[in-house]
Symmetry: none
DNA sequence: ATTTTATGTCACCTGATTGTAATATTTCTG
DNA sequence: CAGAAATATTACAATCAGGTGACATAAAAT
């Protein structure tokens, strides 16, 4: 999957250079001239690395990173700075930097350092898939199977995605349009009837004798799990 | 737990300075004047970080690291070097460096960079280059061999890396994206289908008669052991 | 430099999955 | 209860995911 890099630099020329360079190297780049909206973005997007100028209009970059670290946001940070004194560099590391480059920097070296930092930090992100439960159904999203009353049933990708959504939204009716958007994602021109069939197939898997009523049909609307 | 740092520098004065500095900072330090016994040490001890001079008597430091990386030894490395040209620095990163400091260096900055690298890599490289077992498979990572029911089978680099990852994550499904990142590392533009072929070849090696089911395919997701 | 080995890619095959359309059944309304 | 609308069921074709063997290139060994 593409890696996402957030860049903050108040010099528009430098920012554009960084954006261009990183995009050319295949990264997804979000560039900002100040830190105003950075918190929101971090809350909403998956960011793998932050490149940050130190001298920003609103706040000193390393102070901002120190604040992030204090909020337990441990995304790797590489500082870019015109200041190259030992003291400046050391204080940046103390505030949570992963690397520090002084301007003017060689873009190739920057790319290599970016890569090096990502290599170390990424593998740390072993996503732990949480499993969901509903009544006597235990959905294992890792193995894509359900355990129902000590019976293991394996699901297909589609079935697993459907069941996950239903369990996550238990008590809420999910209409076909919503299901198509969430489960079938970008696929174009999928008929709403397709949902009916998919639900039917899922029902058959998790309740072959058809006496459990895990999934309820809400006529005229969609489906739900009680 | 105390962290173990291996230092290689052919200048005895520098080596002693590094040993003293790092020990004072609470690390366990193993110092060497050349790379002769490094491989053995790596095989026996848990090493968390390597500090390496580039100009060594027996081999250029970055070439040595490149060799280690090619053997799937991914312990973080910080280079120390008198050479400060862009080309030198870039080539070091290309060969697998995590950071690069030019001599003469500020010891405090060195300590901070050491700390930064260790912070990122810690959870990852906790294990010694150890041998792993799974059922009746014993994987020897140093010799790149498996012993299966008293049969020695030699593996390729790729096969060993794959099998290592699978065994380490037994019970967990590893998807193709994850495998590409961990096993194929930085290589760009590798097709996900390539994983299928690699797994197939590994299966063939460790289970020629194809009746053991060591590696299970989870359709739509990836592969797992157990 | 030559030979061998390792590895990525491709084409093809198989079986599983899934969308669709045709048909049956249920549910709702009057 | 009849008729219409919604949903369930079934069958079938298209697609897809993964396995397999062949081949070309890259890497390693000699």
């Amino acid at each position: 999957m593409q890696e996402h890099i957030l860049v903050v630099d108040d010099d528009n020329d430098v920012l554009e250079l960084l954006e261009y360079t990183l995009r050319s190297a295949g990264y997804d780049v979000l560039g900002f001239l100040n830190t105003k909206h950075v918190r929101e973005v971090l809350a909403q997007e998956r960011i793998d690395l932050i490149l940050m100028d130190r001298s920003l209009p609103d706040i000193e970059g390393s102070l901002y990173v120190e604040m992030l670290r204090s909020k337990n946001i441990n995304i790797p940070v590489i500082f870019l700075s015109g200041k190259d004194s030992q003291e400046e560099i050391k204080s940046a590391f103390l505030k949570g930097a992963d690397d520090y480059m002084t301007k003017p920097f060689d873009v190739e070296e920057l790319l290599l350092r970016v890569k090096a930092v990502l290599r170390r930090s990424n593998s740390q992100t072993k996503e732990v898939v949480q499993n969901l439960e509903y009544k006597d159904i235990a959905l294992d999203l890792n193995l894509q199977k359900v355990r129902i009353q000590d019976q293991d049933v394996s699901l297909t990708k589609l079935e697993a995605a459907l069941l996950k959504l239903l369990i996550q939204n238990r008590g809420r009716v999910l209409d076909r349009e919503y299901l198509l958007k969430k489960v079938w994602k970008n696929s174009q021109n999928i008929h709403q009837k397709t949902v009916n069939v998919a639900i039917k197939r899922l029902k058959e898997k998790i309740d072959p004798s058809n006496n459990k009523e895990y999934i309820k049909t809400i006529r005229g609307v969609g489906y739900m799990m009680a």
